[in-house]
Amino acid sequence: MEPDFRRAMGWLHTWAGVLLGSVLFAIFWMGTLSVFDIEIDQWMKPATRLPPAAQTLALERFRPSLNEAIAARAAFWNVEPPNDRQSVASVHYRTKTGFVSHDIDPVSGRTLPDAGTLGASGFIFPFHYSLHLRIMNLGTWLVGLASMAMLVLCVSGVIIHRKIFAEFFTFRPSKKPRRLLLDLHNLSGVLGLPFHIMLTFSGLVILGATFFPASINALYPNPRGYFYEANGLSFLNVKPGQPGAPVVSLDETFARAQAVWGNGSPETVLVATPGTTTGRIAFFRDRTQQVVMDRDVVAFSSTTGELVSHPPAPRAIIRTQRFLSGLHLIHFHHWVLRWLYFMLGLGSCLLIASGFLFWQASRRTKQANTFGFRLVEGLSAGSITGIMLATLAFFISNRLLPPGAHAFGMGRAALEIGCFYLVWVGAFLHGWLRPRRVWIEQSAAISAFSALAAMLNWITTGDHPLHSLANRYLWPVAGMDMLLLVGSALAFLTARKLARKQPGKAVGKTV
């Protein structure tokens, strides 16, 4: 290859990495945690830690909530029956004032008290694709930019790697920190390359309609038309009807849906514009045993119970797109794969972190006192260990805040997020103020915070690891506690190793 080309790619790799590394780390970190979003939800909402019900609850038992939605003139109402990841049912509806969400006891059908938290599926997962920046969709566009940068980084990284096959398995723990960081970066980059590319690409494709609306606008009068057609939701394309119409029995309609499917259970039951004359009841089939997110929607009129639509099986192109979204969103239930995703996700985090640290290690002797170097130094600490600390602060505040807490005009859920940002900003400041000690101190803090989170779970709920391990339905809680404790131990070892090597530099760490 021409040296010029390689140099250009090297320049691109360095600067794209330094500029967008922080954002990328945040995306990959939150994405990795989102792999276990429902499990983290159970940890954060102790009231939902219930043994699975022996019998499924009849859909009509959710009628009270549906009636509330009708009274509030909700745009839609839906219920997700319990499944093997989540033993509680949940209902959601959107009114003019906001989004309402309740967890329902799978045995008694009563509404569980509001946990006062957004949990992982309400905060960590949306953060993964929107960075919690909703103004003008800025966060989503930033995620798109960072994802394109990730693809650029993957390709340019392969191009500038001189000995990709000769050093395929090379890892030399006894070498100097700088060499070790490069080994770690190469190893996690090359060996995880299929994962990095697959996940980044599929993530972009999922949000494709947001980033590239041009061809949709060329062929459709509005983007919603494409969305409905691609997802088999054309039954939603109706004029708003008059209110005051009844909603037919959900169970009887469900029996009809099952007749259409042949067999199968619903993953979601949706009532669109409930209580109006053009309302629709739709059943989304449970497809947790395949990667392709083909939900086989059957829709009925909610006033008469007539079949409205049942789209045919998708063609190859749509199926490919749904395979990509399925492999990204891990909609399926497969424990081995879920853990694989988690570990590979940590590998991606390690890749980004080691890249950042290598950039610094190779410049420390020459530019340690320049403004740019100091800036990146603090930035990398804040965006690597800082976001871990912030996430742990989110968990800790979840266990510490009393139910119904209210302060500074914020509710409990907002306070948890406030804690997250407070600690995160603190970590950045810490990185800029004490660059010599920041990695040691933040690793030690991660160790303390994780152990504290696991302890607080025990103290506030009584589910200590041994108890949760002994009960199958508490395994999500046990898994979370175990990861917190393992993370705590790893962070402690890292901090100790760094302190001994002072002024030696950091190695990657996981929580």
Binding site: T170, L187, L191, G326, V336, L337
Partner: protein, 108 residues
């Protein structure tokens, strides 16, 4: 639980051996195990064999799971097993010495 032990663990082991064979055709890793270099014909043969082993693992995992799960599982385990080989070579290369010795044996 039993399927986990009977399928995933042997699959991991299989991929691990395939990657270990690949790594041990490279001189610096052979030297780390205290072995000498292999003749080029043997190197080629072993690399081919390891490649076939990797592909065979894909076939097996697709046959055991569905095509989608099988493929994702294969891709994921590929990364992890290669990583395990690299870490082992970094910390305890001597553990792979028996395999390296076996590869050097004349095929009689």
């Amino acid at each position: 639980m039993s399927t986990t032990c009977l399928f995933y663990l042997p699959l991991c082991l299989w991929l691990f051996i395939a990657f270990a064979l690949l790594a041990l055709t490279q001189f610096n890793h052979r030297r780390a195990c205290g072995m000498t270099d292999l003749p080029p014909s043997r190197t080629r043969l072993i690399r081919l064999m390891a490649g076939v082993m990797l592909l065979f693992a894909l076939v097996i995992s697709i046959a055991h799971e569905s095509s989608g799960f099988g493929f994702l599982l294969w891709v994921g385990l590929l990364s992890l097993c290669a990583c395990a080989v690299a870490l082992l070579l970094g910390w305890y290369p001597r553990l792979l010495a028996p395999l390296a010795r076996l590869m050097a044996k004349p095929s009689t």
